[in-house]
Symmetry: C2
């Protein structure tokens, strides 16, 4: 249990530095870090971690070990061009428990900017919300990790356990960033990831597959449309078959602990589609990309096999060789469950209650989380817990400012108790 | 009636020059003339027309008159960069009837080249067929026009009527090329277009509209997929509504002369689709392009109004402003009927019988033809009549070599009789 006097100093320190934290987070939002374009944002983070007295490790994530790992996501970009940044606090004498504070720096595309109320990159604060692409998912979390440590220094405390502050890439598409950090040797007694989780703790989440489906057609002139086979129409048929599998998987939710009460735990999304090359030709090809979820405890390979079975049945509808060809193109990632009863969760629960005055709730989320890397392959309890948000991956994404303050406070208190602190000499 | 001795000389002359014609046509196929890339093919045609002793007119098709014309197709490319070529034969004394020999030089995209048995641009002759994109549609026809005239010279004859040999652009997308030629002042007593029509004459064809439909969605993270609205899924709902209208229009075929016996006269094609920008985001936007047909006698504006009505009903399914926005993006073109009983058709029928030994058949085609320009706006009988083909707009497009020979012969005989001929001095 954390000494109440120390807790009070930590809380005061978070508040003292909070304007600075918010400004820094806004600056981070202003550096667009779309996939492969993360360098400018990583520069800012590296600079801040250096300023916080941490030892910097910045490296391109590619490696043969990464590519050979069962949790690796086949990637459509060059991983040699993508850099993780990790800042490490080494206590003079390591007496406390170690900790990873993880966050991802990559953000998803904005969608049509004209739908936004303001630029996705201007990071305005309006009515208590910080706006912008990545504001909630999850630059506020990266700021929370950084300023939780800053608060300890401000409170003239230093952790007695080793701490790695990670800013990883590829969380939105493959999960290869966190996996690369693990494979580089970063492990600890616990891990915190302040994803935007509405002030709650993630108990369980789904695995995710990304794959491209190319549906072939038979091009023809429209005057003989019946001799052709429209690949765009055919793609729709294949999508319907996948919707059938999605429904079947949702019907199975009773078999999966923590998912029984989730209304629609398994979501298949058709996220991108491109087909045809001429309005007056029956299109020869249509490709769409699917994001499919599956329950924890099922291997990605098994989920993929069941999807391929469905697609083979789709293909049999068409009298064409290679009528439907599917290729993994990103996440090949299993879901995980945070087992109840860990010390880490108990410490977080205490920290949360001190800040929020209410019990820490846990919940099941049907979205991908890098937590699977630490849980499944690093054998660490991973606490995914972060601020209140609206419209992540949507239009006018935003994060609640006061929620950032409270989450940062809770993480600072958690760190102080988990790692232990001693006076800054 | 053409003098049998003269007819015999013309037939012999076509045969004499046919190897040259085939080689020239293959060279034309080897010059890809995709939309906006027609210049190289037009160069070859201009050179050939010059060599045939014609006066050349080459001009960019854009003009205020063109853009203001009711048959103009709203274009997504700059018409100022697109050039028609017309070669004109002026007889020393104009005593015979005048003639337009029209063909379009633009070709549609190839689709995935890996589906082709050989390059779409190598113009091989295999088993009596000339292969390649545009071989049938309609570079063989351009060659037929040119070498029909060449045959007359070879037979030491010259036409006594004015002849315009037109190589136009934009037939595959807007019809603006032929329309621009008409507006430049080219008219005649009849017009021939050797489109690949299986040795038959087109009696009636459909009007065609091209339009882009942008369907809006509500982007969201997949963990809250139910708060989003997938624009790709929504696009398919809209497509289904359009399929409903297509079925309705097909049910009305009994009301339209020449279409009663066509099995499926009205084809709607979804030719291009693009949507979404991230597999794990519910897509905010999906755009598809439609080619829709409608019966002759219906104005493009009326057809468009009925389509817009259907799309408005689609839009009402979605609780979003601007849920479905449609914009004309090419053909805004009405269909036409070649009235029976014209002199031009009688002359063609005689020419055809002399070559084929069988009656000229006419038929109804559910495809767009530039014939509408000459018929509706130029008040000329327009004979769309050309060789046997396979897979136009498809994979391994090809045209039958002997059919080219016969069609060229029929056009040469038609020209001799229609315009009249006199000995070359």
């Amino acid at each position: 249990m954390l000494d109440p006097e120390i807790a009070g100093r930590v809380i005061a320190a978070v508040n003292e530095r909070f304007d600075e934290q918010l400004a820094w987070t806004a600056e981070l939002v202003r550096r667009p870090s779309l996939r492969t374009g993360e360098a400018g944002a990583q520069d800012l983070i590296e600079e801040a971690l250096t300023g916080a007295g941490l030892d910097i490790d910045r490296w391109a994530i590619d490696s043969p070990e990464l590519r050979a790992h069962q949790g690796y996501g086949p990637t459509t970009v060059d991983p040699a061009a993508l850099e993780n940044v990790v800042g490490t606090w080494h206590p003079p004498v390591e007496r406390g428990r170690s900790l990873i504070l993880n966050g991802h720096v990559d953000v998803v595309p904005t969608g049509p900017e004209e739908y936004w109320s303001r630029s996705p990159w201007d990071a305005s604060v309006v009515d208590g919300w910080l706006y912008g692409r990545g504001s909630a998912d999850m630059k506020a979390g990266i700021g929370a990790n950084l300023f939780a440590l800053t608060a300890l220094r401000t409170a003239e405390l230093r952790p007695t356990g080793r701490i790695h502050v990670q800013s990883v890439v590829e969380e939105e598409c493959t999960g290869n960033g966190s996996l690369a950090a693990l494979l580089r040797g970063y492990t600890a007694d616990a891990c915190v990831i302040p994803e935007p989780e509405d002030d709650k703790l993630v108990r369980a989440n789904v695995g995710v597959l990304w794959f491209d489906v190319t549906v072939r057609g038979v091009p023809a002139h429209l005057r003989v449309m019946d001799t052709g086979q429209n690949a765009i129409d055919a793609a729709y048929t294949v999508m319907n078959d996948l919707r059938g599998l999605e429904a079947e998987w949702n019907r199975r939710k009773d078999r999966h602990r923590y998912f029984e009460d989730t209304e629609h735990p398994i979501n298949f999304n058709f996220g991108v589609i491109n087909g045809g090359d001429w309005p007056s030709s029956v299109p020869a090809q249509c490709t769409f990309t699917v994001r499919a979820a599956f329950y924890p405890g099922i291997s990605a390979a098994d989920a993929w096999a069941e999807i391929q079975e469905t697609l083979a049945k789709s293909a049999a509808r068409f009298d064409l060789p290679d009528a439907v060809v599917a290729t993994p193109s990103g996440f090949f990632a299993e879901g995980y469950v945070l087992e109840e009863g860990s010390d880490a969760e108990a410490v977080l629960a205490r920290s949360h209650e001190r800040v929020f005055g209410s019990e820490l709730e846990s919940f099941t989320t049907p979205g991908y989380l890098d937590g699977r890397v630490f849980t499944l392959y690093g054998n660490m309890p991973c606490l995914v817990y972060g601020p209140v948000s609206e419209a992540i991956h949507g239009i006018d994404e935003r994060v609640e400012v006061e929620s950032i303050r409270r989450i940062t406070t809770a993480i600072a208190l958690f760190t102080a108790e988990w790692c232990g602190v001693e006076p800054q000499p």
